[in-house]
């Protein structure tokens, strides 16, 4: 997960289903070992099929559309978006959750898609940079980024936009400090930060309304 833009907010939890499936599938962890025999047996009987290493069917909600895929369990959400769905707006800058270029929304909360397994996005509404505008109508944060030149090479921009848009939607009265917090996990080598701050505050001031296709 990308750093939350507000530390006081609970971070989005990993989907319980896949976490449980993992423990049950693994079967050898200390946790399962301590379970009473009967409980374990019952759980095993009700457990979903063990996945992998071969691809299995997976259904995701991406930008308001349900997509059906064949995915192996080691695949990240970023890989699915880029390589299977051809949605290359989501960038991968470090592939270890340190640069936030890959930021998407899961149910409206920011998340690092390079650190999220595709299977962990089941049941969540995934919104990517491609789903932020309504047709030709840009999200207020996108528009403000254009007007305030909050981008140079543009490679970190989709991730920046996703975090700033999430902030503005949740807190239209955000301050400079809030914006700095929101993008503190994002890396921009060109040095667009001053204009990112300006743009996000301008979008908030203009009344950034929720527009994402989630």
């Amino acid at each position: 997960m990308a750093p939350s833009d507000d530390d006081s907010d609970p971070k989005p939890q990993l989907p319980r289903l896949s976490r449980r499936a993992f423990f049950q599938g693994a079967g050898a962890s200390a946790l399962t070992a301590t379970l009473a025999q009967s409980v374990a047996e019952a759980a095993t009987a009700a457990a979903p099929a063990v996945l992998g290493p071969e691809p299995s069917p997976l259904s995701l909600s991406v930008n308001g559309r349900t997509v059906s895929l064949q995915v192996d369990p080691a695949t990240t959400l970023a890989e699915v978006l880029r390589n299977q769905l051809g949605m290359t707006g989501t960038k991968v800058g470090c592939d270890r959750g340190a640069c936030s270029a890959c930021t998407v929304w899961l149910d409206g909360e920011v998340a690092a898609s390079c650190m999220t397994l595709a299977y962990d996005a089941r049941g969540w509404k995934v919104t990517t940079i491609e789903g932020l505008a309504r047709g030709d109508e840009l999200h207020p944060v996108q528009r403000a980024f254009v007007e305030n030149d909050a981008l140079q090479c543009g490679f970190c921009t989709p991730g920046m936009v996703m975090s700033c848009a999430a902030l503005v939607e949740r807190n239209p009265k955000c301050t400079l400090e809030d914006v700095k917090q929101a993008v503190s996990g994002h890396l921009c080598r060109c040095g667009t930060y001053p204009n990112v701050f300006k743009a996000t505050l301008a979008a908030a001031k203009g009344g950034g309304k929720p527009k994402g296709n989630s």
């Binding site: 290359t88 140079q152 060109c190």
Partner: protein, 826 residues
């Protein structure tokens, strides 16, 4: 800057054979500019708002009339939003990283685990058998490294010698990324380890392990000061080079020091900084019978095409390079690189497109870096501040590549009769350096501007006033800096600066100042084509690229001006090597090179259009003007007709003109195939305010006032963005960035972006940008670059502010708590 040799290294390994040949003889004076018919032209000259004057220069006969200052223009000089910004904020912008072709394979490299070794054998059989693998290729020779002077020195070796941990050896192309990664691990390499050395000073020792078995050359050096051919080399130390960028020693340094009333002498150290573009180096190669298409993340399409043509022995006509968007470069993205060479071979073998993109670790290790430096600097001056001596001895390591020179500014920035610079390249078993935003100059200014500050204090002079005394060359950059010092000091509140170390508490604040200097460069012989179609569409074409500076936008602005259209109405086409040859995005030379060619082509189209419209408007072509989307007869508003309608009515199929970048009206100090160097430079000054926590050693840069010049700013909004970027990278370099190597294994310990610390949102100071509009009367747009000067002064300004805060000099970068506390203990 009178006579200078290009070794800015803005072209990496990707130079054509003919360029290399041409560079061999060393500095050559430039021939007289623009042969052919000419006229005498009166042009505005000076700084707008500071009293423009007129100069008369010889210009080509058909050169467009000079432009007035920006305030009188409609499109040029306006803060137009980037034309491709919407693509970037919606994720539609397609980078090389995003290229997906039918049947595309994933490439993965095998890199050396040892820092120095001979390879005895390579067994790729298991990798070849791995499911999904379509091709395997072993690298025959390694690019981006210095070359042994004696071509037979390692003749017996079957494979290239390994000289750094992370050096590419071979690569695999497979159906999936995962298969490629798994297969590459199955390649068996038998090494014969050799002793290695990674530290600068360790490598300088006489008994240090030798990185190369003999003397080396690197004419296309990519790291800064560079080195002329034939320099002496002893062990790992090559040099001295006494002529940074061709600027030779002058006077008598011993006499200069004897003449001095005051001498300052100190040792400075700067670290290795890696480029860290957000999009790593990458190339997608698509080899087909009919030709080779390369999608490249590059700063110069031409360098990719030419290097591929040379190494693959293909005619340039068979190679097309495409680069719609490049996710940053900062100097490191030239030519095809080892990754690109491997991708091309794999594509040829597999008969399918191959994507080869470096991962973040590879990017740090082998993608390039700014060399470190160890500088011993001595300045002498008279009581009145006049300099009598500048003596520099500098060593630096660009790993297995040369180009660590830092002495250009010492040789050229200040008036001094006695200058002696010795700069040495030290080879180490680490990845190759590459040009990095003002190569050499960032390191050099760090030492020079601190020493000048120290001198000012010894002389009891204000540091800004001392610069006024010694920065007196008759060049445009010196003229600009004089205004910038005044403007900046006023805006910054320089008069409120307190004596050094006067804050009482543990957190001490201080103010500092440093000057910037960069070369004013032009990429000669590039061209731009402008077309007007029968429906009134206007398009411009140039094989240049955008690494984030806004090239498409400035191109459209300049063309729009000639047609009285809005920039958004111009089709601005770059990023394809099939267009007329375009400038490299390096050395701050795109805008200075592209815009005059674009304006001239647009001007010729507009004049031809006027001729074709003359019968329709029943007027003399010379009286037809284009303004506000309309065509009209000068002075007759009633004749106005919308531009598109007029073109349609005239029954034009297409008008097309191509114009080359002509020489600067005044000519150049030096001219080479890809770089011409003006005797003028680009200036800039920066003021910094810092807070130093003397208990923890944490430094915070709170405020920067950056005052810059770039000739005529074509788009002040984009210029401001670049200056922000230069300052932020400068703060990052000053405070945080440093490559850490493990001496025992030769591996980089922080080859990622969480441990290689870069300025983030939290560390960005308040930055105020002031921009001059300076007309140099040199070309039809008078535009110059700004990317590099914006990065040059920052670290030195911060260091001078550190001194003002604490009363102690910090001569070692970065200003980490450890280095800060050590400095405070001195």
């Amino acid at each position: 800057m009178q006579s200078v040799k290009d070794t800015t290294g803005t072209v990496g390994s990707g130079r054509s054979a003919e360029e290399k040949k041409e560079e061999q003889p060393g500095p050559q004076p430039a021939p007289p500019p623009n042969p052919g018919p000419s006229r005498q032209q009166v042009l505005p000259y000076g700084i707008v708002g500071e009293g423009l004057k007129e100069v008369t220069r010889r210009v080509p006969l058909d050169e467009p009339p000079p432009l007035p200052e920006n305030a009188k223009l409609k499109s040029i000089g306006k803060p137009v939003s980037r034309l491709d910004a919407v693509e970037k904020v919606t994720g539609k912008a397609r980078y090389t990283f995003d290229i997906q072709l039918p049947g595309m394979l994933w490439g993965r490299r095998l890199v050396s685990s040892l820092p120095h070794a001979r390879i005895k054998s390579i067994d790729t059989s298991a990798a070849e058998r791995y499911p999904g693998v379509r091709a395997v290729h072993i690298l025959e020779s390694v690019l981006a490294t210095a070359k042994l002077r004696d071509p037979n020195a390692e003749k017996g070796n079957r494979y290239p010698t390994i000289r750094y941990a992370g050096q590419p050896i071979a690569a695999v192309a497979a159906d999936t990324a995962r298969a490629a990664e798994a297969a590459v691990r199955l390649i068996k390499v038998e090494y014969e380890p050799l002793p290695h050395v990674t530290g600068l000073e360790e490598a300088m020792k006489e008994n240090a392990p030798r990185v190369f078995p003999g003397p080396t050359e690197q004419p296309a050096t990519a790291g800064g000061g560079g080195a002329p051919p034939g320099l002496p080399q002893k062990g790992n130390v090559r040099g001295p080079d006494t002529k940074p960028r061709g600027m030779g020693p002058r006077g008598d340094i011993a006499q200069g020091l004897r003449d001095a009333d005051v001498v300052v002498e100190a040792e400075y150290r700067t670290q290795v900084q890696t480029h860290v573009p957000m999009e790593p180096h990458g190339l997608v190669a698509d080899w087909r019978d009919e030709g080779l298409t390369l999608y490249a993340s590059t700063q110069h399409l031409g360098s990719v095409r030419d290097e591929a043509a040379e190494l693959l022995e293909l005619p340039r006509s068979k190679i097309r390079v495409v680069s719609d968007f490049t996710g940053g470069g900062f100097g490191a993205k030239y030519g095809i690189g080892n990754y690109g060479l491997l991708a091309i071979h794999l594509s040829r073998k597999a008969k399918a497109p191959v994507r080869m993109v470096m991962d973040r670790r590879e990017e740090h290790v082998s993608g390039g870096h700014r060399p470190n430096s160890l500088q011993r600097l001595k300045l002498g001056a008279k009581r009145d501040g006049t300099l009598t001596a500048i003596q520099l001895q500098a060593h630096g390591s660009g790993g297995v590549a040369g180009g660590a020179g830092v002495g250009f500014c010492h040789s050229t920035l200040y008036e001094c009769p006695n200058v002696h610079v010795e700069q040495y390249d030290v080879f180490t078993n680490t990845g190759p350096c590459a040009a990095f935003r003002a190569p050499g100059q960032v390191q050099g200014i760090f030492s020079l501007e601190q020493s000048v500050d120290e001198l000012a204090e010894k002389l009891g002079m204000d540091p800004v006033a001392l610069r006024g005394k010694i920065d007196v060359s008759k060049t445009d950059d010196a003229l600009a800096r004089a205004h910038e010092r005044r403007l900046g000091a006023e805006r910054f509140g320089w008069s409120k600066r307190k004596p050094a170390g006067s804050d009482k508490g543990p957190i001490k604040r201080g103010m500092g100042f440093a000057q910037s200097q960069w070369l004013y460069l032009v990429h000669p012989n590039i061209a731009c084509e402008v077309r007007v179609s029968g429906d009134g569409s206007v398009e411009a074409f140039c094989a240049t690229q955008d690494i984030g500076t806004g090239t498409r936008t400035i191109l459209a602005q300049v063309v729009a001006e000639e047609f009285g259209l809005r920039p958004e109405e111009i089709g601005s086409h770059i990023g394809d090597s099939r267009y007329p040859a375009g400038p490299a995005s390096g050395g701050s030379r795109v805008t200075s090179s592209l815009t005059p060619a674009a304006r001239n082509a647009a001007y010729r189209c507009a004049r031809e259009l006027a001729t074709r419209l003359a019968p329709l408007l029943k007027a003399n072509p010379d009286d037809i003007v284009f303004a506000e989307g309309k065509v009209m007869v000068k002075g007759k508003i009633s004749s106005a007709m919308p531009f598109r309608e007029a073109v349609k009515k005239a029954g034009i199929e297409e008008i097309s003109h191509r114009a080359e970048r002509r020489d600067d009206y005044e000519g150049y100090a030096m001219k080479m195939p890809t770089i011409a160097i003006s005797r003028h430079g680009i200036g800039g000054v920066q003021f910094a305010e810092v807070a130093v926590d003397t208990e923890t050693g944490i430094v915070k840069v709170e405020r920067i006032v950056a005052v810059h010049d770039c000739g005529r700013p074509i788009n002040p909004k984009l210029v401001e963005s670049q200056i922000y970027g230069g300052v932020i990278q400068g703060v990052s370099y000053a405070l945080y960035e440093e490559r850490h190597l493990d001496a025992a294994s030769g591996h980089q310990l922080n080859a990622n972006v969480d441990q290689y610390k870069i300025v983030g949102a939290r560390e960005v100071p308040t930055i105020e940008v002031l921009l001059l509009e300076q007309l140099g009367a040199q070309s039809s747009t008078d535009a110059r670059g700004v990317a590099e000067p914006a990065n040059v002064a920052t670290a030195a300004a911060v260091a001078n502010a550190f001194y003002n805060a604490t009363g102690k000099r910090i001569r070692t970068l970065p200003m980490t708590p450890a280095n800060v506390l050590a400095a405070l203990r001195t």
